[in-house]
Amino acid sequence: MTEYSLSHLKELEAEAIHIIREVAAEFENPVMLYSIGKDSSVMVRLAEKAFYPGKVPFPLMHIDSKWKFKEMVEFRDNYARENGWNLIVHSNMAAFEAGVGPFTHGSKVHTDVMKTQALLEGLNKYKFDAAFGGARRDEEKSRAKERIFSFRDKFHQWDPKNQRPELWDIYNARVHKGESIRVFPISNWTELDIWQYIRLEKIPIVPLYFAKERPCVNVDGNLIMVDDERMPKDIAEKAEMKMVRFRTLGCYPLTGAVESEADTIEKIVEEMMTVTVSERTTRVIDFDQDGSMEQKKREGYF
């Protein structure tokens, strides 16, 4: 490499910072969606870098489905406090109080009501005109085609057939009132890039990513962790302590663990390189139907 060339990670970082600044410059009321996961953690760090030595000029918003792992919520609250983030936590309280949950209503209804609906509610409530998401194009087929500035109509719907052309690094940020843009600054990062960056930048992540003995039950081939007393007794009873970690984080009843000994980032990467199952398979919601992610995205889910 010559003197004036960047490593791929530095190039991806520069691209992401450029995207984040562009949104801050062009939109009146942006928000960064924060899922507490590793991709979100990287994205927040990039935002901090973009505005250094100033503070991030927009809030973070977490859509709390009320079924997240306890450790996630703990991590979120501590970390936001320590770093002085302007953090909004939004939940679909009406549905929560009506008792919607994955065990009673199934994964499809729960995801729709507590995640998709809650997100739309949150976006409408604060009238955000741009929302950052930490999705990557290598995660899932339909994402491979999504723009970095992804247009959403008044109903927050995505139309994959009617996407704006996106050339060079010039982003079209024009929307009418009520319309919005979802922005994906880490679109071009791979899972390995994320881990590598977390390692190099020493970005704190939720301990659930690291292997530890945890009480788990095998439900239809997925290792589900017993995280609280809401897990139905007949299932919870079968729990065994297993050395496991999580590759992705979401609602605890819907997120399968993998058996693992990896308790450092290096070991995780090593394991990832020998493991043969892609990241998203541990998300139960993907099994619903073919093209299901595309369907969800059309409806407004990230």
Binding site: S7, K55, R164, Q196
Partner: protein
Amino acid sequence: MTEKNQNTSTDNSPFGEARGTLDINTYLDQDEKKDLLRLLTAGSVDDGKSTLIGRLLFDSKKIYEDQLSALERDSKRVGHAGEEIDYALLLDGLKAEREQGITIDVAYRYFSTNKRKFIIADTPGHTQYTRNMVTGASTANLAIILIDATKGVITQTRRHTFLVSLLGIKHVVLAVNKMDLVNYDQKVFDEIVAEYKSFITQLDVPDVNFIPIAALKGENVVEPTTLMPWYHGPSMLEFLESVHISSDRNFGDMRFPVQYVLRPDLDFRGFSARVASGIIRKGEEIMVLPSRKTSKIKEIITYDGNLDEAFPPQSVTITLEDEIDISRGDMIVYPDNLPRVERHFESMLVWMDEKPMDPNVQLFIKHANNTTRVKFDQIKYKVDVNTLQKSSIDHFELNEIGRVVMTTNKAIFFDPYKKNRSTGSFILIDPISHNTVAVGMIIDKLNAEDLPSKIVDEKTLEANKSRIHRGECLVSDAQREKRYNQKGTTLWITGLHGSGKNELAFTLEKEMFDAGATVVLLDGSSIRSGLSNELDFSPADRAEHLRRVAHISKLLNDQGIITICSFISPDENIRKQVVQIIGEDRFKMIHMDATMEFCKKNKPELYEKFEEGLIANLPGADLQFTTPENPTLVLKPENRATNTKTILEYLADHKIFPII
């Protein structure tokens, strides 16, 4: 190489090959240093594009096992590849595409090897997807153009190559695929290469390479070929891993287009942007456009510590030694290396919208963090993407490409796209739908010779003739002359800044008024403060400004009124066109013929500003002032006492005023 061979059989892991036998920390340390190659694949349907990409991904072990098993299931259902695994299914993600069996958008794929990380933009091949290919090409360092060996160089190949060169991609690989179907025959390959070479030399692609492959069999894709012993070059992947791209960027012309002004508190003012080109150095003197104020770089700030220099595509924040007013869209450059600062330029345009272009509608242009309005002055030609033939048209339809002349509302700071991809590219946004309707690559500012042509509004005149029916005028010229005792005439005073032209004009107005004439004075400041307030002092805008003045003067003359027009009007060509609008017989040119010394003494501030580089386009200095060819009168400022008398005598002698 040996390391690679050892590992092909180790396991099914996605990164197995890349990792080799290294220990994990060493691996991660090495991985961190890899650079990034962005590439585009182009080919017509069924040339094997998806198969090649699938191979690159598969053979570098990036395909996850579960995706593979889903793939086997899918191939049985909708596959088009018969018995073999259909790699295309891995890539054609969206439902609609699967149903049609073609790729309809740009999809991005990621893989890495020991040496590099790769981002592939996979785009469809039909003419109706030109815009998708253009999109993929805009960020690519390199293009792989696929050819089916059984078909050879076809129309699509030419189109794809043209688009690749249009978008400024510097490295092209012609992948001659399906070599298995021609028995891996060297002759077939050589013929295709020869034909392609004769075509591509017409285009501007500096680095062209040729590789024979059989994507379906994996032949010469990752491992070097064994079935084509006559081929001595690298395999596709070896080539992609080794092609040198870091010097492709423009490191010569420093451009820092301010993206965001960082003001966390009153004491700190930082300017954030991506370095578009060149190298920005701490301590260097800079100039800010458009204000042309200068200062020095105080700090180059990043979260990871301050830098002494920054280069593209780094995103940094800089602070300056002096407090200068700078906002988003301003550009920071070195004073001895300025971009073009213009409102008029020519560019190649690609129309991206389903809705055809309406050349009369103003659009938004977004260029180097600047957004302003833009109008089309002229469509020079359209290029047929298949034959490269040029033809004239009056608007563009979806996927059409051509050359246009454009004018923006405020000046933009650009370089020709060929020299600078970042400051030479723009997008056009429809003000109503907000869609990105077109994208463009700037060729250059308008040639000086082309500029004055703007003033000849023959087109409008023609159109007006056929469309506008003027009412029958009930007052005759004779009646007007009798009433005013004068002939409607334009007294056009030309001369340099400081020649005393305005003084003459104002005295003349007063003396004529006192003598009973009906007279109107038009000068630069009165017209520019209102009617021409969006125009600047560039040659083209001067032309437009004078066109307006000429039309006002014509209207007034038509009503029998005498106009005194005091305008520098440095260009003889433009003056001639002014005469055309007003009419030769009632146009009197008065040249205020002052020496440069006289002018400088008379208006020292103005000429000093020019010498300090604070203003440009000053007639007689950096803008040529041509002496009028056949002036009615030539006056000297030294004779100011008698100049008005000379004019009044002329008017009386020629029965312009008074008639009797």
